[in-house]
């Protein structure tokens, strides 16, 4: 149990490094992830018309590639480029969140 706990702790602190978006923006980004990305990928990110975005589904996919997919979209599919709404830093932060073992929770969920 303890090593797992430490890894989670390490990942959480990594996510709050200096180049993370401000806390308030992080909240908005998580909301966007679950509500708006969720309209294709499922609110719990288990997939819908778009593929699942759970850590297990993203294993082996590089953060660089995933960030590029968010910002530039995937031509020929329904995945749009989000670069008009998200910055490079914000997309990178979202990828870090997605790759965490425990799926990121929207604080507004009751």
């Amino acid at each position: 149990m303890r090593p797992v706990f430490l890894i989670v702790l390490a990942l959480i602190s990594q996510a709050s490094l200096a180049d993370s978006p401000p806390l308030e923006r992080q909240q908005a980004l998580l909301e966007l992830l679950h509500q708006d990305c969720g309209s294709c990928h499922g609110m719990t990110l288990q997939g819908g018309l778009g593929p699942a975005l759970l850590p297990s589904a993203l294993e082996g996919k590089s953060a660089l590639m995933l960030t590029a997919t968010i910002l530039q979209g995937r031509p020929g599919t329904a995945m749009p480029p989000w670069s008009s709404l998200l910055t490079q830093q914000e997309a990178e932060w979202l990828v870090t969140q997605l790759k965490q073992p425990a799926p990121p929770q929207d604080a507004n969920r009751h």
């Binding site: 609110m43 018309l49 749009p80």
Partner: protein, 399 residues
């Protein structure tokens, strides 16, 4: 001793009178005796709950919890308007009593689901599933499974099913995303559905049925145009229409695919949201051609006419999802712009159209507008509200 007898006799009399009194009382009803015609349900997508609403009092009248993952959830009503059948993203099908605000029955029928429909006779519920890809049919009464239609294509792969609607002749019509097909299923014999398959085009993603139940139209993600199936003449097969309805190379990124609405038919003109453009298309259904493009303030998601067809209301995808626009159908001008709140997801008119109910997801509010004066009439709190459904839908095909 005599006294004792008298007491016994008195006791007997009291008991007798009490019995007569109780038997002659009218039986107390469990719920208030009332109709359900002015009731509705609001889907609360994050908390997996429903808020029951009353359009006469403009108030929330109940809350139903425990429905699971309700992102992209929809529901249909039984012909008596008493029960709602709710289709959750997690594959659950829940039967809800609208009068008593409680769950009657719930089945986990698939892993990932996107919607459903109720048959013409109201006895069957069909679900539209992504995983396992296909349509499952249940008894509306007991929610027991009566048929399993696998969306098989190619070498036995299963396609995701979208655009499931009910149609006249006890039919369900639906589209297979990966297979690029439209299927009709005749459920006169529920245990042996009669299936007809049609090649539709690349990646149908949503579909509509016209209000009278004759035309089924699927939007295609993988190619330009729409696929039309005339159910009065299905032997003629699929016709590709409106080639201008382009999917490729949209000018703007599409953050949310528009919903296709069978109700958006005004006279001979169909009003459809354009994909990836700030406009609405007007299509003449006699020739299936675009006759007008109406510029809008954002990418439209829902394009819904007021029941009297005098106005058309439009909401938008990100980043314009805080707005509504109202178009006058007489001259196609914009008559009103509203900003109801953050993340406006859905609009539902009262059956005769005097009011429209609007969900603002990120404000946790449902707003009620008078459609004549555009005055805000009420605000009803709801948790992350998405779809709003009034019971009058029970009597409309495809809703």
């Amino acid at each position: 001793m005599r006294n004792q007898n008298l007491n016994n006799f008195r006791y007997f009399l009291v008991c007798l009178m009490a019995t007569v009194f109780l038997v002659s009382l009218p039986r107390a009803p469990l719920a208030d005796v009332r109709g359900t015609g002015d009731l509705g349900l609001v889907v609360e997508r994050t908390s997996g709950s429903l808020t029951a609403i009353n359009s006469t009092t403009r108030r929330a009248v109940g809350k139903i919890t425990g429905l699971g993952d309700l992102s992209h959830a929809s529901l249909v009503y039984s012909p008596d308007e008493r029960y709602a059948f709710v289709f959750g993203r997690d594959g659950a099908l829940t039967k809800v009593d609208v009068l008593e605000n409680k769950i009657v029955k719930r089945v986990e029928q698939a892993h990932n689901s996107v919607g459903g429909a109720i048959s013409q006779d109201g006895r069957l519920i069909a679900t539209s599933n992504y995983d396992p890809g296909g349509v499952r049919v249940f008894s509306a009464d007991t929610l027991e499974k009566v048929a399993d239609i696998k969306a098989e294509y190619g070498d036995g792969q299963l396609a995701k099913v979208v655009g499931l609607v009910d149609a006249p002749g006890q039919k369900f019509v639906f589209s297979l995303f990966e297979a690029g097909e439209i299927w009709t299923a005749d459920l006169h014999d529920p245990k042996n559905p009669k299936i007809q398959k049609f090649k539709a085009g690349k990646e149908p993603y949503d579909a509509l049925i016209s209000p009278e139940g004759r035309y089924y139209i699927a939007g295609l993600f993988g190619e330009d145009g729409l696929a039309l199936l005339d159910l009065w003449n299905s032997d003629a097969g699929i016709r590709k229409i409106v080639p201008e309805y382009a999917k490729n190379d949209p000018k703007l990124p599409v953050f949310k695919m528009p919903h296709l609405e069978g109700r958006a038919l005004v006279g001979d003109y169909w009003f459809l949201p354009a994909v990836g453009h700030h406009e609405m298309l007007v299509i003449d259904r006699r020739e299936w051609k675009v006759v007008r493009r109406i510029p809008l303030d954002g990418q439209p998601v829902f394009v819904i006419p007021r029941p009297d067809e005098r106005q058309i209301w439009v909401n938008f995808a990100l980043p314009d999802n805080d707005k509504l626009q109202v178009i006058d159908t007489r001259d196609l001008s914009v008559v009103q712009r509203l900003t109801p709140g953050k993340a406006v997801l859905h609009m539902e008119f009262t059956p005769k159209g005097q009011e429209v109910w609007v969900s603002a997801r990120d404000d946790d509010q449902v707003l009620v507008y008078d459609t004549e004066t555009f005055r805000e009439m009420a605000r009803i709190p709801a948790e992350k509200p998405s779809g709003i459904f009034f019971t009058a839908r029970a009597h409309r095909l495809g809703l």
